[in-house]
Amino acid sequence: MIVFKNVTKIFSGYLKAIDNISFEIKSGEFVILIGKSGAGKTTVLKLINKEIDPTKGEIYYKNLKITYLSPGKKRELRRKIVTIFQDFKLLNKKTVYENLSLPLEISGKSKKEIEREVLKVAERFNLKEKLDQLAETLSGGEKQKVVLARGILYNPEVILADEPTGNLDPINSLEIIDALKRLNSEGITIVLATHNREIVNQLKTRVITLENGRIIKDENPGSYTLV
């Protein structure tokens, strides 16, 4: 589904964030990118969702070359590959309802359709009681749930999660990981970037280890049942 072929990303002409990496992520896989800060995890995710372009190499998504895309094609891709961030990227001055409405508004849905779909997703993520609350008043765990809920409103094929538990306590972290596992069991491909060993041990899934922009290990213990 996602293929990297000898991809290198150099920032500012000298800072090598990714150094000639190649890997393939199959449809429905749950892949963890692990590594220390600066290892290149976020850069890989940004290359997948086309926030940045590679300096060298080729990237494919469903056999389509996405190395360089026009702004319009990038937008289309971002509705299939959604990203959730450690810093949530929520509109803090807007309510949970308004935040959840955004992807549907972008898709040009009517008010009624938006209401129906937002209520459905809010119920699924136990957010119904919070719909009228401003995003800034939510706890970290609740915010991350809103981000996940917002992401799946696009019916995405891939979810890229960049340190989604970075700002959360263990209980909330567990909830988010469980939510990601559930989404994966529904067929959504998950790419999770983290430096949290506990999550890796708990998930027992394919782990790509990055160090200084290179893949140093790509292992699949197979203990976690993949779809």
Binding site: K74, K89, L102, E105, I106, S107, G108, S110
Partner: protein
């Protein structure tokens, strides 16, 4: 189509929210719009004033032919006929010595010094003359050229045209300079206004930088992001212009009778009334275009959308 209307509707709602939520910036934008409107209307009025002044002065440019004392009435009437036949001449009136004296007496009633001087005079000191009215000042020039070269030259005491011409030409040149000066000032005001609008829009957008970035990450199209800002620009331009128009109409109403005291044919109130839709449509259109271009440039330059 439905998708387009939903996005348009969202743009209108978000743009209105921006108008209310960014109240201080909205206020500055409204004020700037007011200044631009004032400058543009100032430009229109400078041209209108200048043209009125020119027309007024040209109308005042009387052309009189004063004859020597020994010239007979028959000869004057002959000249009157010849001049009447000139193309562009509207009317040629003969004012006899007696008529001129009577007119002077009437006018001098308010001035006791002249009245006393006229009473002391035993004879009529005035001469016969012809008053020529033509369509424009060029006709006067042709008539004077003809008269100075014709055999009638010896019968003419003097032509009033040349005395007035210099003063009027100076006044017309002043009105032209005024036009250029005002144009320069207005160009400067417009440049400053664009800079202010550009920067206030930039500040408005900067405060929403995070929102714009999130929308981009969520795959929103450029138009989806632009629409609320463009509607916001439309809103403050409309409110600013309507506010200006309200104040402007009150000003015109209050000064309705004042302007005609300066120049009889200068009446801004009726000028605006006669051209209300055309002028407002053009000026409002120009300002909205200016503001939208500023917003577009900001969005493109700083947000690449």
């Amino acid at each position: 189509m439905r998708r387009f209307f939903n996005i348009l509707k969202r743009g209108v709602i978000e743009g209105s929210n921006l108008f209310v939520n960014e109240a201080s910036l909205t206020f500055i934008n409204i004020l700037t719009t007011l200044v631009i409107a004032l400058s543009l209307w100032g430009l229109v009025f400078t041209f209108y004033f200048s043209n009125s002044l020119k027309a007024y002065l040209q109308n005042r440019l009387d052309f009189s032919i004063y004859f020597k004392n020994n010239v007979s009435k028959d000869e004057i009437e002959k000249i009157q006929k010849i001049i009447s036949s000139f193309p562009g001449v509207k009317k040629v009136t003969l004012i006899t010595q007696e008529m001129a004296f009577e007119k002077l007496q009437k006018e001098s009633q308010v001035n006791p010094v002249i009245e006393r001087a006229l009473r002391e005079l035993k004879t009529n000191p005035l001469v016969d003359y012809l008053v020529v009215e033509a369509e424009n000042s060029e006709v006067y020039l042709k008539i004077s050229d003809y008269l100075l070269k014709s055999p009638f030259n010896s019968k003419i005491d003097y032509l009033s045209y040349f005395e007035n011409k210099k003063i009027i030409e100076r006044a017309i040149s002043f009105s032209n300079t005024l036009k250029i000066l005002m144009l320069g000032i207005i160009v400067l005001v417009c440049i400053f206004s664009v800079l202010i609008i550009f920067n206030t829009i930039y500040i408005s957008l900067y405060s929403l930088k995070e929102e714009i970035e999130i929308l981009q990450l969520l795959g929103a199209s450029n138009w989806f992001i632009r629409l609320p800002f463009l509607f916001y620009v439309f809103c403050f331009t409309l409110v600013g212009y309507v506010a200006f128009l309200g104040l402007f109409i009150i000003f015109l109403e209050k000064t309705k009778n004042f302007w005609s005291l300066i120049i009889s044919n200068f009446s801004p109130y009726f000028f605006v009334l006669d051209n209300f839709f055309l002028l407002n449509f053009s000026i409002f259109g120009f300002i909205i275009l200016l503001n939208l271009i500023s917003a577009f440039l900001v969005l493109q330059k700083y947000f690449k959308i």
